[in-house]
Symmetry: D2
């Protein structure tokens, strides 16, 4: 039996933020399928998210998306969260669903539309001040579909200007986290396509600006763990949006498509001092288009935990010695040994020793919660990306 004694405190400290929108409906441009029990409002989303924490002890906070999660009283929402044992986390802005943003938001050639997008971020900061959130995460759908449609260079300059205005409004204990994405929904170019662009802008902004790395936002063949190592080295890795993908931005369950990649990513996080470091937030950003949402989230945080355990088990002294000796097969073998170790039985025991159920998936399934929400949540409009 693998012994987790040495890594127990690292495991105990782990926290993964859940996205409120993972509990609503999502889909593709072809169809958004509904599902019974889907929340109708942010309060119900928080209730569902809290279930994930109840059964795993891994997910103590919930990220909100504005305006999808706008409520009359964020104080009430905050209390509701706390009553359910979780807190409100990162605030995500949204400048891609208003008709004005058809051709861009903070990069738009029209200064009025840019100001509208900047104002939206000011409103998000107001929400942060009410929810007690630390991070404003900015993902932009800005970009173009056709060469020549707009001036790529001018858009960078406008981006820099808009970000500076938003950054100036961020509180002393708050952070601006800029996400990059190389593709979709803009098809020809996106205005923040890669970590280099996000990095250059956050350097220009200042010490409280960081990069968000969404694991699904890279070109094929990209070595993501390298980017992790590089951003940690440069002091600019602010957060992860975890998910997995086979081809594009699939937003599948983290670890589902390539578990070994997830292992390598977390290993570099540990190597670079990013694990359980408050500077580097772990978040999920996923879409449960066809699978049940609450167990989908439970499975996801468990995947992160299991891979973290494996990565913590790497014999780093032996690894360093093999690397130093130029022993290619030996060094690779030490890494693989940890990856192939089945940590699940030990984690179940460890979980039980901490008052949790050893098998969170089954415990949730047997809890009756799913049946209850499916029965109770009748009527109203199921939450989705539009609301």
């Amino acid at each position: 039996m693998t012994d987790l004694t040495d890594i127990s405190s690292a495991l105990a400290a782990q926290a993964i933020e859940l996205p409120s929108w993972a509990f609503g409906n999502s889909g593709t441009r072809f169809k958004v399928f509904g599902s019974p029990g889907t929340p109708r409002d942010p309060f119900e989303k928080i209730s569902d998210a809290a279930q994930v924490n109840t059964y795993t002890g891994l997910a103590p906070s919930v990220a909100l998306h504005i305006p999808w999660d706008l409520v009359d009283s964020f104080a009430d929402l905050r209390k509701h969260a706390e009553d359910n044992g979780v807190t409100l986390g990162t605030i995500n802005s949204n400048t891609f669903q208003d008709d004005d943003y058809k051709l861009g938001s903070v990069t738009h050639s029209d200064p009025k539309i840019r100001q509208k997008a900047i104002d939206h971020h000011f409103a998000c900061i107001d929400v942060m001040n009410e929810t007690g959130s630390r991070d404003l995460k900015i993902w932009l759908a800005d970009g173009t579909n056709y060469p020549g449609q707009d001036d790529i260079r001018a858009r960078q300059d406008r981006l820099a200007d808009s970000l500076a205005k938003i950054y100036a409004r961020i509180g002393a204990d708050q952070r601006l986290v800029l996400e990059y994405k190389f593709f979709e929904p803009a098809f020809y170019h996106t205005d923040v396509p890669d970590w280099g662009t996000s990095y250059a802008h956050t350097v220009a902004l200042g010490d409280r600006a960081f990069v968000c790395l969404d694991t699904g936002h890279h070109a094929p063949g990209t070595n993501i763990e390298f980017i992790v190592a590089q951003l940690l080295r440069l002091g600019k890795l602010g957060s992860f949006d975890f998910n997995s993908r086979f081809y594009a931005d699939d937003d599948l369950i983290v670890g589902a498509a390539d578990p070994f990649q997830l292992f390598r990513i977390i290993f570099e996080v540990i190597r670079g001092g990013g694990l359980n470091n408050p500077e580097v937030a772990f978040m999920l950003d996923q879409c449960h288009n066809i699978e049940k949402k609450i167990p989908g989230q439970i499975r996801s945080v468990l995947n992160v935990q299991e891979m973290t355990a494996r990565a913590l088990l790497v014999d780093r002294n032996a690894l360093a010695a093999a690397q130093e000796a130029g022993d290619v097969l030996g060094a690779n073998g030490i890494l693989m040994d940890a990856f192939y170790t089945d940590v699940r039985p030990a984690l179940a025991e460890w979980r039980e020793s901490r008052g949790l159920d050893g098998d969170p998936m089954t415990a949730y399934a047997l809890s009756g919660y799913q049946e209850k929400i499916e029965a109770d949540r009748v009527g109203g409009t199921q939450a989705g990306w539009g609301a």
Copy 2:
């Protein structure tokens, strides 16, 4: 001035089918933007499509999508089309928007759902018999998002069985055309991911089954013109869905992302005897998410025409001689010479000689049609992928 004399009859014979859904709204999973003047019903879509033909003489038929284009009377729709100088073309089935199809349609493990999907195709064949359409085009969203979700092999067998039942219903003068797509909306596997799969199934079905090649449905780095050449050689290229893409299934204007690729594709069509061959239908399948739809379609058919003219101008005797001589640079140079020839002035003259406006884009813009539909089409629900 480039002389089009020798290729005039080939140009004159060219016909490109328009998709009715290109005139409705479309978008991404993030947002579908509306636009003034969008049709509210299939009749208005046909009217708009007819404008493309009026100004280009290139688009004499319109493909329908069932159930999006269901009307009370297809006889009326057919008459409306004929009154506007176009005909009704390919019928496209849709088995991806009913809740029953969440996990598959003709490949579903539940025989009742498979039969429902088969019955939908029977209904499409009924429509074909009313519209006088020759082709039933089948694109399937079937696939899975997670490894293990379903049995890949069993789904192939069920696919073969379902297709055989549909094929048996096709009339003697009708065809079944099976489209392939390597990704989206299913993320882990699609049931018809590549030309090989579509080819193997159409061979098993029989002589009236063909492959549809959508230019946006391939993995990065795929040489599409090779597939064109191969399918023509094997006698199974039934139709094209033209569009262009930078990364995924962008459905941008054909030729917009890589004009040289479009040139190479059409060159292989000509080389293999597929141009103006009724066996090989040219169709558009595009999404005008942010640009105006009617001029978007005009631009598209003009792009196909211009590239066809360039490809027809290749000096094939000289090319063959250079190829035979192993003259790599010479052979490439002969191809490029045609590609770099600016055929637009000669095409404008040629158009005028045939009673068309030399500049269809401007002619449409000046026609007042766009202003009229934007003013007239107020109220009702704009057509989109849902209707």
Copy 3:
């Protein structure tokens, strides 16, 4: 402890063919690094390959590459192999290193060069008759670098003609296995780029023609296990060339880049009846550019064995039930459960129960063989891709 009782006979029957060229030097266009102890001739390659079998019991045969492995007497080589406990396996042809083949071999526009390439295959069949080999594996470097360089369609026709001539020479108990590769060393197009092309040609050839699937020869995003399932369904999967890659045709150790993909591939082999089926040969095709070659091969066959064990452990009844029930997370979970099972301790015990060392990597390292060949093999020319 995982119990291997039920899968023991399947494991015992497994055989993986080694490529003789894996024991010679290899590299990239930038540099081929030499390494001490590298074989100078085919006899030494066989000796090294036999070591892999000695320590794993998994690798009873060795594939040859002609002309790299030409010897004066194949009877002697055959006897040398048998003396070392292995047999000679697949014969691989080579039509990419003679100056005549600069622009193609069996597809060349010059019939004399095509005949030369066909004759080379005849010579390979002669070797097969001496070595007792069943399979002639054909991988072609044929293709073009520039559009227009040659006639893609004509090359297909010439390919078909050349293959037919080669196939006609194959003995009644022999097979022609046609490999495909979508890229490299030709850059614009390859003449056998995908499984569809290889499939269409082997169908045209006849019952003794099969497809070889090299796991590194696909475009990014390709679902390889789907192709496995499809080719097994169509009865045309003849063999695997196992290796792994991160981007192109890296020829890394199988399972090194994406272990979960290897698991899924082998699961589909089992699902489709291809495991330990003589019709489906398992082979390695790898390049140990920087790591030691013999342990590199040992690691490789162990990776295949370990993944086979995991794939055999999938609870297929439970999986089928979850699939039937549309339980997406449940079905995926059953697959993942087998993948995450650490089979290594049980395999070590099982190995020992069969008279092998439980840890083949260490057993080889301690054997002194490596030190001996590094000391003995001084002088001469180290084998590589040129010889």
Copy 4:
């Protein structure tokens, strides 16, 4: 006829540096084909390069590769160049062919090997001082093939340290230009994989450190013109290595694979002030594996010139107005109008007006130079990547 009057001075100022190694043999890991007339030494390479300039007026300098181009007297080589009407340009270092560099050079874990690699760069700077070269271009093959093989993060730190030592030796009028490449010859990770990494290091080094953008060194789907725009904006675009590719680092003739991409790249260069700006060097980096080398280079510089002319013809006022108006199709149309303009006849005239032959390809072919070198250069060892 397109009028080049307004862009004549921009065209006249254009200069593209040629790589000496393009005139030697090159190939793939499968085969390097020789060709008659290939230079045997750096003097002959310079002679050949000068031919390109003679016929195009576009290529006044030649980049050298150390140690491939080491000569006894660089003063003699410099004089030979000047006698042939060209100058010696960028010095390229090479730390990938010595056995010591098997696992890395400036990033190697062994400080002695790092120092050796640093010393090689010092030697390159010595050459620069003799040749009068301004730029030291560093492309590193450093990276790993297997996860765990070495410590990615530590290698970044060692890279930074080594580069700092090299940079400290650069003269006040010299520059260090750091190239990035996402793949090959290292397969799992490369130490400078992307522009972000190169950018971060050059910022840390100082004002005389710049990024080199090789157009073939990106992941599929990467928008290269965006990177051009971004690096120009950040003041760090030092040079281009032009070539083209269909999949990996094909090093084909620039513009051959995707002419429209080349157009877009050069348009962004112009937009950002990089054309004929001494800070942004235009160079070729290509491999003429199967085509003749001198005409291959002539074709290449003409491609760059022709695309430059097209990009200069963009009506930027009209473009800006359409962009400002949000006219997607209009703005795209203005860009495409310039791309589709056939500038070749006007360029031929313009060339003749400047005392050059209108058709450099034919002029070279008729010159007899090729026949002469093929007859004269008998014996000796043809130059290639090894020498």
